[in-house]
Amino acid sequence: MADEVQVPRKKIQATDLMNEIMAAYFYDLNEAAISASRKVAWCTSVGPAELLRAMGFAVYFPENHGALLGASRMATDMIPAANAIGYSPDICSYLTSDIGAFLRKTTPLSKAYPGIQSVPKADVLVFNTNQCRDVQDWFAWYGREWGVPSIGITSPRNIGEVTEIHIDDVARQTEALIPKLEAVAGSRLDMEKLRETVRLSRECTELWNKVLATATAKPAPITFFDGTIQMGPAVVLRGTQQAVDYYRVLLAELEQRVRGGIAAVEHETARIYWEGMPVWGRLRQNSELFARLGACVLASTYCSSWVFPSLDPQDPIRSMAKAYLELFIVRTDQYKEKYLQDMIEHFAVDGIVYHDAKTCPNNSNCRYGLPQRLEAKTGIPSLVLSGDLNDMRCVSDEQTKINVEAFVEQLVEGR
């Protein structure tokens, strides 16, 4: 295990097209906010984006901005500004880095997209607490800052089976948002537009799921680290034709890789599943660490979180409610255990890495004995890495390196 070996990264050719689409999206948002030509709605990652898009809002996802702050390694410097106004270092570091960046009047968007000075000012903030309570508090801060409404869905959480009662609850809350959103938008919701948006959203997520499923091939043509970049359009443009078109291009390239036996990681010796948030500030480093060891981190719950098979254009609001409730993060440990067991089999993985993110308890699924139960049931070894999504003060590079090297060593020697 020579430390200095550089691992060539295999570029996914479609990425250039994705970058163009993402640039167009951010410039469009910026234009909407600056010219006031369209209303801007902020939306949580699995909030009612289809509804907002159908109502003509330019939709912005601050969690995507949080990830950009992390990946650009700005986040850790921004977090203290939010800590200083009372937002604890122990809460979501997307929230603290994003608010910190706003307080410091900076954004990674300016560097990535010249001409953009700031995040787009919201006319309305729309959350769904299906993932955590922090998003509500995050949006509440901006609501106070700008004097705009912060509204949303308070979701049931920790649920096993998604029942009609749960769906009724979320569907009614979604319906209750409509008049408030119409008041901001100044126009009525067109149900046909909503059906069409839901149809496109479903198509986008189905294609994205097929993209992820290419990693069942041996060797896998795509890694989890690639996936965290490639999921951009599924996160910010679901419900649009651009996202659908992009994933057709990406899927074709990956299927070509599979046919040609082209590996994302040369000499794939171990297949690993990633559970939990990415470590955005160490994305490249971690990608290279695993690749150097011949270990392909090929699948994750995280990237699969933007797959919504229940979306149904014939019943848009109820199906949206169902889709938002079926998310992994909303479910019980019993469900999660079964889901992970299925994923282990589906992707034929040799080991699981759990990321215990210091500031993200809701997406750190190793705190209630799940890894131990799953390992006992499947015999698939696991490793827990302590770290964080955005706060790199919680990351020890040496500890990560030792743990990962020892884990891959264990998997290889165990054969």
Partner: protein, 264 residues
Amino acid sequence: MSQRNKAVYVGLDIGSSRTKVAVIDAAGHLIGRAVKKSGTDFSSTAKVCLDAALQMADAATDDVAGALSTGYGRGNARFITEENKTEIGCLAKAGYHYFPEPITIIDIGGQDNKIVKIDGSGQRTSFKMNRKCAAGTGAFLEEMASRLDVPLEEMNGIARRSEHMIKLGSYCTVFSATEVLDNIRQGKNVADIVKGVFHSVIKRVLEMDLLTEKVVMSGGVVANNPFIVDMTAELIQRPVFVSEYPQFVGAVGAALYAREAAGH
């Protein structure tokens, strides 16, 4: 190879706190060893230890038929080998060499703790490391020795004189230091506080994982403080096993890997 024609295998465990070098013969016996503070020049320290360990083994550099490094500074042994393994792998290798049965190894080092489990065939089945926190490590003991103003190497003897242990409640090194200071202020017996410090180390380690029936301890903290082994045995209510040179277990594991790579 020298005229003595004596093939030896070298393991270099370059830890964050101490560098240990082990020399074994073809039969796997430890015939030379040396330990030194790692300092700031890992390569230079490793070279000094290597020379001393070879001398003890009555061997020369030419006799080295294989070498492998491990530990935090394992990349700093290129003067003798490019080969390296993780310290977890090396602990498992040597642990099974000394105790060829299912075991749990508890290694307490300067900066980290490890719990490594091995099955009956010598295969590592799991490992755990302490989280990024000094609690339960040698660094914790060093900090507490400093607060108590007692030499680190005397902690073991002092603890044995304790009659009433004072338990420390916190698992944070800084908070524990405050607790220690508070006990000093109250005029509590230093031996009782030191015993409490050792107790705290063991408690932090035992909460990392479950243990198998047979437990083996290793690492510099264990080597210098056999009291911690006795206390662990008392807490888990069964014997705890220690190899002859517990500080060299990782280095011996590295040497065993080197021997294996050479075809033995």
